[in-house]
């Protein structure tokens, strides 16, 4: 059902349609009919029981005069990560763990904070209320010290209990935006229509609760930066390229933005492309959407979209379009290190074209933002670059 204003003619999307067909064929050959996959959340009673088990274990240790400790999967070690082309980065089944001991000066505070947050989660689940990570932090900011500590403990608890964060009744604040050919109804019944033209809709905080998703989109474009996203909105890109969806995570995406992209892919198998800066951090952000992150690898199945393709800005585009050196930026030492690190990652080996692009960047020692295209014209991005890329299959 077409509900959006007319975009390009149908022939414009031929390559895109073939691409989608190819993706579906890949999925079928990988394992059965492509079907939407509902993420199963742990029930409240399951979460409460898990927490009670942990508490009981601690008390039992103390009764035996043994110092209790938490055993937590080491989310920060590459040794615990395996790469699967169909999933992305995920934790190995029997991974290296680390102990958070109560009898160690280094970890006693962390031990106490884990218990503190566990008790808070317990109360949230019992009372069927929700809180954000920020709310948790502000219950006792002096105790916790900083937000990062809270965030990591929550992720560790999620990993330890093997339940998604939402099951812990901790929601994350969304910072992403959506625009384009998409309608849905939120859990509380709110009807949302992202076809707004010059405005975008905030990514909802309860992705699992969304229902009645409707879209005709031929593609989903993930835009790295909010500035680029706004520029495309201003240029009416969604109308010109209708039907399509645009999403931005405003940099490193939050969990809800990733969940939304994942949900759209799972539901509609809409081809997903990324538009990122031609720099190592842009590439890394793209990898997070596609293959996931090390820290959240325990939830990879819910978050990754390995079918994502890199649309732009490619390092090879810079030469092809004769972008002048003035518009380019030298790679910093940090950039070099980041680039080297990405090249070492397991998923790059199965992406020879990506590797080649990164090697072009490494050789030239230069990077560029998407805004470098304004050298050609102020609307070159939305008027020429993206339409051509989409029409003629300029993705890798």
């Amino acid at each position: 059902m077409a509900f959006a204003p007319m975009g390009p003619e149908a022939s414009f999307f031929e390559v895109l349609d073939r691409h989608r067909t190819s993706l579906l064929a890949d999925l079928r050959s990988a394992g059965g009919e492509p079907a939407t996959r509902e993420t199963r959340l742990a029930s409240s009673s399951e979460v409460l029981a898990s927490i009670e088990n942990i508490i009981q274990d601690i008390i039992t240790s103390l009764a035996r005069n043994e110092a209790p400790a938490f055993t937590i999967d080491n989310r920060s070690s590459w040794e615990n990560i395996k790469f699967d082309d169909s999933v992305g980065l995920q934790m190995v089944p029997h991974c290296i763990t680390r102990k958070v001991k109560s009898d160690s000066p280094k970890s006693i505070q962390k031990f106490a904070l884990i218990l503190k947050i566990l008790s808070m989660i317990y109360k949230l689940v019992q009372s069927n209320t929700y809180a954000t990570k920020r709310d948790i932090y502000y219950t006792d900011s002096q105790l916790f010290g900083n937000q990062t500590i809270v965030d990591n403990i929550i992720s560790d608890i999620s990993c330890m209990l093997k339940v998604p964060r939402r099951s812990l009744h901790i929601i994350s604040t969304s910072k992403g935006l959506i625009a384009g050919n998409l309608r849905y109804i939120e859990e509380d019944g709110t009807k949302v229509n992202c076809t707004g033209g010059a405005t975008a809709v905030a990514v909802p905080s309860n992705i699992q609760g969304i229902r009645n998703l409707i879209t005709d989109a031929k593609f989903l474009l993930i835009v790295e930066k909010d500035a680029t996203f706004q520029r495309l909105l201003d240029d009416n890109f969604c109308k010109k390229m209708s039907p399509c969806i645009m999403v931005t995570g405003k940099g490193v995406p939050d969990l809800n933005t990733r969940l939304l992209v994942k949900k759209l892919w799972d539901t509609f198998r809409t081809p997903v492309f990324t538009l990122v800066d031609a720099d190592p951090y842009g590439i890394e952000i793209m990898c997070i959407y596609k293959y996931g992150s090390m820290s959240m690898s325990f939830e990879a199945h819910n978050l990754t979209v390995p079918a994502i393709r890199w649309l732009g800005l490619l390092p090879s585009d810079l030469k092809r379009l004769n972008i002048p050196k003035d518009s380019l930026i030298p790679l910093t030492k940090r950039d070099q290190m980041k680039l080297d690190s990405i090249l070492q990652r397991p998923y790059v080996t199965c992406q020879p074209f990506w590797r080649k692009e990164m090697e072009i960047m490494a050789d030239s020692k230069m990077k560029a933002e998407i805004q470098a295209l304004t050298f050609l014209s102020s609307d070159y991005l939305s008027r020429v670059y993206l339409p051509n890329k989409l029409r003629f299959g300029g993705w890798i």
Binding site: L48, A49, I51, E52, I55, Q56, I58, I59, T60, S61, L62, A63, N65, E66, A67, P68, A69, S76, I96, T97, R98, K99, V100, K101, S102, D103, S104, P105, K106, S107, I108, Q109, K110, F111, A112, L113, L115, K116, L118, S119, Y122, K123, Q126, D140, Q142, L143, G145, T148, I149, N152
Partner: protein, 568 residues
Amino acid sequence: MEGTAVAVFEILRYLIIHWKCEIGVSKGALLEEQLVISIEALHSKHKANALHCVTTIAPIGSLYSGFVFKKFLKEIQSVLPRFSAKLSGIPEDSSCSQLMSAVTPFQMIFEVDEKPRTLMTDCLVIKHFLHKITMVHPKIRFNFSLKVNGILSKEIFGVENEPTLNLWNGIALVVNSQHYVSRPKFGTTESYCSRIHPVLGHPVTLSIPDDMIGVDLSGELTLTPAAALCPTLKDFSNQLNRISSVSIFLYGPLGLPLMSSPEQPITTVFKDTSYFIDWKKYHLHVVPTLDLNLDRDLVLPDMSYQVESSEGAQSQNADTQGHTLLLFLFVDFHSGFPAQQMELWGVHTLLTTHLGSILAESHSVVQDAIQFTVDQVLEQHHQAAKAHQKLQASLWVAVNSIVSVVTGSTCSSFRAVCLQALQAADTQEFGTKLHKAFQETTQHPFLYHCSCEMKQQTPEKKDSAQSTEDAYEEGNPAPRAETCWPEENKRLKSGRLHRVVETTHAPHSSRAPRRPEPPTASLSPSGEKAHSKAPAPSRASPGNRLQDALWLQEVSNLSEWLSPSPRP
């Protein structure tokens, strides 16, 4: 004739300087000698109510090559004009070339008439002097005996096999804390480290006041402070988390105690408690201790302060509560040439009479040096106390969180199991027992292990120590839970502090600081019998080196805990 005590001081001072200078003991080597000092007192035939005291000083061992008695007598009379003595054993004008290792080669004997009370005081003062010497000359041993009207008492002053801290110039500070403070009356022996851990300050040059006519030194005087808290606590408790007293020890060149005369006490300059140390920055109010009890086993400080609480009440007896801040002031003499005996002798005499003026002349540098050293020690103590508070706060967070879950649970079986595990009748008792259980299981490893007193771990604990790391990648800070670590690691972080090496002569020691021979009694001024001294407890053998390394690794990161404190 000067009193017995003064004579003994000067003779011992002469002998030690002689040993160091004339015999050519290498600069860094510790003097290793044994000396017998005996005083025999009988009713005087010439004075009423007086005792005729014959003091004999006899070195044991082969060390007196080059010692010329006549020269000694002449030189000693320059400070003790009325001193007279005789030598027995060998001709007075010959060198002591006979080397009879186990037999006293010669004896110096002098006689004086003294009132009994004066003699008793002199004996106590002599004993304290000997004790002070052995604190920096651990290989010198004194056999002291007193025989009064046939009643004999003996004491041996020596610190063989006790842990020491090598300083410089052939002296080493004994770090056995039992010499400095009494064993606290509460708390277990496991709560305290048996050693002090001095922090050395940087040496500063002392100026000679212009009005000291005739003083012409070929070198320069330096002052090096050292400070330590005693006892070194392993387990902080509120009761002992305070400084209750300050003891100042003065040593001159070659580690000889500086003993002043009643006419010109060298400690006058310390009567003003804030002259060298700003106590207000530590929120301490100190007052001089007026009454120093001579009759005690501890090393007698040259100056002592009591710390009054902020409410203004008198602080309690330092022996029963609180730390004592020990401050050692080492005055040394340096010249470009090997020190000559008379030169050092002169320096000692100068310091004995004019130390106060000299320190006052160099007030600002002395104050800086002492303040810096005291800052280091008290800062460590403060950080450790702070870390302990953070630790306690963490435990309370853990306890309250668990109690919250247990009390809030609607699962009766879960609650029952939890209460039963700790044998608690109700949730209130559960909370109390839970806290206690945490204290018992988590506090012990937090005890401030010294590398000098690591206990053997059980095999299970050793494996635990070697297992996977227990820290988050964020490097979440852990509390600094130790004050009792080898000072070397900490000192190296400050470029201003000396590098010292802590040595232990032997891992096991059962030798007491003094060991009088029972059962004969000696008469103290009060007429009470002297007590036998119990031997010091055996020291635990050094612990697992891996645990040392792991523990040092952990405590090296403790400073990160100094961000905002969690609420208890």
